[in-house]
Symmetry: C2
Subunit: 374 residues, 2 copies
């Protein structure tokens, strides 16, 4: 999942994301809550309609950003008080508030409000934090179940955006295909409306437990007991060695049901996403492809390239000779290096498109290799 | 002509420019000379190949930027000494040097080196400046005629990129169409090569004379005497009232041959480009559509919109309900306003695409109205 922090994957238009084959985007609840704000997005019909994106969206709970962007946060059993990184104003997030916001944003998949345990932390602290995340997960689910009908989709959306799109096209075709009677049309419309009315978001639970395998196991089992349609592994990629990340993911995966989506949060490099997908992870998100692109770091079949280097100033070859993306088919390393050196906006645009393509292609290959087509 | 100052129309990829129907771009000689530098572009095979753009390109002479970006310039009969706005280094531009650079950049149309007379200026100063521009025009032509074969196109380009493209496609089709004999192929290839070998750039002259109709007339007639395949009107849009610009353009046009391209430099608003096209101007360039876009100023069929305004925060309508561009078809004013307020790169990208579409559409309508199809 490419990351569209404030409702846009930086520098890449939704048309291009579709061309790249992106099926689902991640939006950051914390950022969207602060700007443009929950009320705006809700009144605009939810995030899909607001950003003109019919395919799927997942929003995170806001917890990770509150922890990573706010030094002055105050955590209690009730929730977290924090200051906006934009204007210093004080805000409060709790499981209930995080659900209210995510229901209002209207993503297809939303996340339980969790505490991302700092690293390193001693065992007692990790257990306390994990226990609170479990209580917050139960509160998240309770609030969600009581308010899930409040999604701002109206009659205009199904939980799976893609399937809805097909449905809508078929429906429109049906309506224009012949001279339908008013009754036929009314029947047809009420069928769609009834179908839509029962459509709600999917709330995923998050496993915590830091680097402790035993606590991870306990967190997984007790989160599954609460019962969610999908499970995420949170609290990793927080500064621990990569090998430790791998070990924790592997041992945690053993306890997660294989028939439900398993989502590893905030990971990772192209090598890592391939590795974890082979292990059984179904979903990942990371700002790396787009953030690295904006800093001129490009992923290629020949390894990483820092396009700002003078060695590329007259390099006429494609960025990645094996890549079929629109950037590699048209532009040379010399041109991309020039755009970066001249601080042209197009550098960020083209670099982001290439890196996203590289990530999408990495996953396509893993799927092919594993014999899955979706 | 959209302006691609340093080899890119800011924020808009070449694919999108093609989709927008852009037939010709302007590149700034001054900027390209400083970065990436003449040698790099020349060694990369010229600007077309460097930036992956097969359609036409025009480069300006560098004169206007030297005059507008350099307070410390020193002008003599020989040429202009100036300091780089990038690093303060000292450089020298003359008619000969400007030709050498523009031949090396390899645009399809290049411009004689002129002095853009400051405004206001007294009659004596305007005459002196105009006379020097005429001497520089003759020197430009002389150098060009002696060095025009030095374009870095090799056998890979015709002067009109568009016609070459068609020719190349036809040629490729011819080659694959049947089992041509080796002799046939060789004949065919040598025909192309011979055709390419005589292909050179088109050097346009520039009419100066400030706001003085009589001096404009004299400048036009004496520039025509030097004989160029196209003529530009320079030295306007330098702070004079719009009405005066119009009068000078109108009176100068009377003296320019209608069977050769007439190019009005640095103009203008959508209303102005329509006005001047109806008067007989064939070519114009302006940074306005892209620069205004980056500042959130958008052109629509209902007038100008400053998308940063809070009044658009929840405006679900398309930016321009009558516009068929990819931005207006997909996004709301509310979303564009949010992107701008959140300082997202995509704001600049989408705003630029819309404004360029508006300009292209403005010209398309004028052509239609005037019954010309090209």
């Amino acid at each position: 999942m490419p990351v569209g922090t404030v409702g846009s994957v930086k520098g890449v238009s939704q048309d291009v994301l579709e061309q790249l084959g992106v099926q689902i985007l991640l939006g950051n609840t914390y950022h969207l809550y602060l700007r443009p704000g929950l009320d705006v997005v809700r009144r605009m019909g939810g995030l899909h309609r607001f950003m003109g994106w019919d395919r799927a969206i997942l929003t995170d709970s806001g917890g990770f950003q509150v922890f990573s962007l706010n030094d002055l946060r105050k955590v209690t059993e009730e929730g977290v008080t924090f200051r906006s990184h934009l204007d210093g104003s004080t805000h409060f997030l709790s499981p209930e508030r995080a659900m209210e916001i995510q229901i209002g944003l209207g993503a297809d998949i939303i996340m339980a409000f969790d505490e991302c345990t700092e690293h390193p932390a001693d065992r007692e602290r990790v257990r306390e934090s994990m226990e609170m995340t479990l209580r917050w997960a139960a509160r998240s689910k309770k609030y969600f179940e009581e308010h899930k009908e409040e999604v701002p989709w109206g009659d205009s959306r199904q939980p799976s955006a893609v399937s809805f799109q097909k449905h809508q096209v078929a429906s429109d075709q049906w309506l224009v295909a012949g001279n339908r009677t008013v009754d036929e049309k009314t029947n047809h419309q009420s069928l769609i409306t009834r179908h839509s009315a029962i459509a709600t978001q999917a709330l995923f639970g998050i496993v915590q437990g830091s680097m402790d395998r035993e606590l991870r196991r306990e967190s997984a089992l007790r989160t599954i007991e609460i019962d969610f349609p999908g499970y995420a592994i949170g609290g990793l990629s927080v500064g621990e060695p990569r090998e430790l990340t791998r070990e924790i993911v592997e041992s945690t995966l053993e306890h997660l049901p294989a028939d439900k989506p398993r989502y590893l949060m905030g990971v990772g490099t192209p090598e890592e996403i391939a590795l974890y997908a082979r292990m059984g992870i179904d979903m990942m998100d990371c700002v790396l492809p787009t953030r690295a692109a904006r800093h001129g770091l490009l992923f290629t079949s020949e390894g990483r390239i820092s396009i700002k280097q003078a060695r590329y100033a007259e390099d006429q070859s494609a960025l990645d000779p094996e890549c079929e993306c629109s950037v590699c088919r048209r532009y040379s390393r010399a041109y991309l290096r020039h755009l970066y050196a001249a601080n042209e906006i197009l550098a960020q645009v083209l670099n982001s498109i290439h890196n996203l393509h590289f990530y999408m292609e990495t996953m396509r290959r893993v799927r092919e290799e594993m014999g899955t087509s979706h």
